[in-house]
Amino acid sequence: MSEIFVNMGEISSAKDHGILTTVGLGSCVGVTLYDDRAKVGVMGHIFLPRSRPNDQGAPPGKYADTGIPAMIAEAIRLGASKIRLQAKLAGGANLFPNLNMKSLSIGQQNVEAVKELLSKHGIPIVGQDVAGNHGRKMRFFVENGLVSVTAIGREPVEI
């Protein structure tokens, strides 16, 4: 089975089978969209919540506000129906909690932005493993929509 690695800021997709994997989610949020009937899966690795004017050439998947619509468009392109899409989230951690640069950590801001956008598009979140202070690896099995989240020194979580 083919495994596609989704780097920071990227969006990748698969249909029918294959694994979409993102390694080393820290404050970033891994998002999966899945249409169970069309067997279409899309994964994004969101870096920051909002796109900025000083970053024109950024890939859409870098920011939540451009990434979520791009992911939906990609799912539809592969034959998914928007009303059947379901989302899962992992990541959004705060690896350096004592730095407290802002009242809300970047990880939390990312999670909130992603949730807000998904809700705006009417996409339910059916599983999540977010926040905390540890990094995560997320694997998305497109044949059945299962997502497994692993972390150092922790039991794997299925979401």
Binding site: N54, D55, L95, K137
Partner: protein, 197 residues
């Protein structure tokens, strides 16, 4: 132009890391450290993720926010084995895991290295570069690295200065990474007599 900029970045890294490893050497009873030629790059964001390599490996990352005349971020990243060796040298204790004592020893070490690095740049430029209290994470290299980049809120290109160092007779190596704020980087260059970098 880019070449000049990169050479200048390498020179900064040499000076900064030279001071940082001297400070480390003093903490470790005069043990000698070797600097590997510094690597300075302006990476497109797309390539930044791969810069660290071994994204699933466990590393120790120390992260500092710089404020003052120059804003930016700094990080020290050590492979797990090197972190254990450093803890043993600093505390005299052999530990099977990184406990509270180990964490605070590494944090202190990061603090001293970063402060020495920034002091050297401050002296050279007469600009204030003040480090925050360091944050410390023991986690997957990928998660540590992307959290550092997200903390620095990098946009299109990332200016990374990285120096690897290793210790004589001990398997210790690490990276010191300096991510200057893009506009403020120009200030450092001007103070050193380089215009338009």
């Amino acid at each position: 132009m880019n070449e000049v900029r990169l050479d200048f970045l390498k020179e900064l890294a040499n000076i900064g890391t030279g001071h940082a490893t001297t400070a480390l050497s003093q903490m470790l009873g005069g043990r000698l450290f070797q600097l590997v030629v510094p690597d300075a790059q302006m990476l497109p964001f797309r390539e930044a993720a791969d810069y660290m390599g071994g994204l699933e490996q466990t590393v120790v990352g120390i992260f500092v926010v710089i404020s003052g005349d120059v804003a930016g971020h700094m990080a020290c990243v050590y492979p797990l084995n090197s972190a254990y060796a450093l803890i043993r040298l600093l505390t005299g204790e052999e530990t099977p895991e990184i406990d509270e004592l180990g964490r605070s020893a590494l944090q202190e070490l990061g603090n001293i290295m970063v402060t020495s690095f920034l002091n050297a740049l401050s002296k050279m430029t007469d600009l204030l570069l003040a480090p925050s209290v360091p944050g410390l994470a023991v986690d997957m290299a990928g998660a540590v690295w992307e959290s550092i980049l997200a903390g620095a809120e990098v946009a299109g290109e990332v200016t990374v200065i990285r120096t690897r160092f290793s210790a004589e007779g001990e398997a210790i190596e690490g990276h010191i990474i300096f991510l200057p704020n893009e506009e403020d980087f120009g200030k450092i260059a001007r103070r050193c007599g380089l215009e338009g970098l």
